[in-house]
Amino acid sequence: MSQSFPGDSFDVDVSNQPLIAPLTPMLALREEYENGSQFFVKQIDWLINQGWIGFRRTRGDGDCFYRSLAFAYIENILNSSDTMLAATGALSVLEASQPQLESVGFQRLVFEDFYDCLASLINQVINPGPNGQLLNINALLEAFNNPEISNSIVMYLRLLTSAEIKTNPEIAAFLIHPETGEQMDPEGFCNNFVEAVGKEADHVQMNALATALKVNVNVAYLDGHDQEGKVSFVPFQNAPFTFLEPVNLLYRPGHYDILDRRDADPIPPLLV
């Protein structure tokens, strides 16, 4: 077909970045800003002093919040002190989300493949996968860099976010068009700013997803705004009874990465 569609150029600018990268020392980010804004450098130093010595880059394709959160969420299950409890807890939340998606009008045929991608990865924390192995960090990175798996998981989180927004009346007042500032109805807001591929998440989406997934999220805002170089952490604490550690994300204007207290990935144990 000679017709050209905008979808053809999807991700062209960023497609050489990994969807999710291995852990990188925070000093590498510091180097990027050394010749630029000193406010950012100060904030990065502050983070390092607080023990946040590493981060994990996520591709800047508009899905970065969802992809970062999904990866950090599964990695937290993987690193949990009781993986059985963490994984079964997460799986039961996901299992219960399917009827909720149907109740807001999503056809099972559009979400079941996305669900399977996410659930089978979490299940692999406690039960060996098709290759006979349990999930480790390398396999998790590999899965998240496979576009089909990675985008399926992102999409499932978008649908969870949408279903939460559509069913939670407390959110309705916050559904504002990001450009015009006009109030929107949940359906229109979700169609345009949640369910569409590559649409950035804002506060409303983040809050809704944290609630739906029953996970606590802290977002460190690296924005160069604080004169003293402190970084504010905005908490999305909607899961009082979770077995999981909170997910920590690093925000820079227009982008989310994963924040970490380690500066490199552990080497997975060798199989004996």
């Binding site: 999503f106 996305f114 399926s152």
Partner: protein, 239 residues
């Protein structure tokens, strides 16, 4: 089976099971990634009674990339190219979501026929026609539905003759009197300017076709006629 094929197969099956929407999806040459969709023209619109076919191409990254659709059946609509069938609709571009299916997208095209968006046109000439005179636009759209989509036409009458002859003036959405007016005028002037050429050709029909083309391009319709100087039309006709 790869995820794209699995998804498309499910969508095709889902569409087959649903008889109420009268949306169909068929394979072209047994290729599950090149399909033809079809739906009925919506009621109470100029497209009522027509059946509209859409060419569907499933991209490699489906459902994460939008499906590619264009009308096979010619449609007279501001958001559809009257020449190529290309469609201007946000969900086929940056508002695409993997929750949309072939069926739901075809139903969105059906809705697009109900609610044209002339301010975001695919076919600027058709959009101008729509904005100048909605009733004249609808008459033309109804005529196209009859000619190309098997619609009933105005009051069920006016079917084209057995030889398939079409009324080119109705196709272009013009007023017969306007075309006649310039036919005589244009012919006279043409005779003066390049008479020998016309005598050689002796083809009044092609001149008439040219006039229709010019008047259509100039949107010589309704209230807009008052804005267009006769000399400008003649100038265009002589180009």
């Amino acid at each position: 089976m790869d995820a794209r094929l699995r998804r498309v197969n499910k969508e095709i099956a889902d569409c087959k099971n649903d008889k109420s929407s009268r949306v169909t999806i068929d394979l072209v040459d047994d290729n599950p990634f090149h399909l033809i969709g079809a739906f009925d023209g919506p009621e109470d619109t100029p497209y009522e009674g027509g059946r509209f076919q859409v060419d569907i191409v499933i991209p490699d990254n489906y459902p994460f990339q939008p499906v590619k659709m264009k009308f096979i059946t010619k449609v007279y609509h501001p958001n559809v190219s009257s020449a190529s069938g290309a469609i201007c609709l946000d969900i086929l571009k940056d508002a695409w979501s993997p929750v949309l299916t072939l069926k739901s997208t075809l139903i969105s095209l059906q809705s697009l026929l109900c609610s044209p968006e002339p301010r975001d046109p695919q076919d600027a000439e058709v959009a101008k026609h729509y904005m100048t005179s909605k009733s004249s636009f609808e008459e033309t759209a109804r005529y196209w539905t009859m000619i190309y989509a098997g619609g009933p036409g105005k009051d069920g009458a006016g079917k084209p003759g057995k030889d398939g002859a079409r009324d080119e003036i109705a196709m272009a959405g013009l007023d017969r009197a306007h075309v006649d007016q310039f036919e005589s005028l244009g012919f006279e002037r043409s005779k003066v300017v390049r008479g020998p050429l016309f005598i050689q050709r002796g083809d009044v029909g092609s001149l008439r076709g040219g006039q229709i083309d010019v008047l259509r391009r100039m949107n010589y319709r309704g209230a807009n006629v008052a804005n267009i100087n006769d000399d400008r039309v003649v100038e265009e006709l002589l180009k």
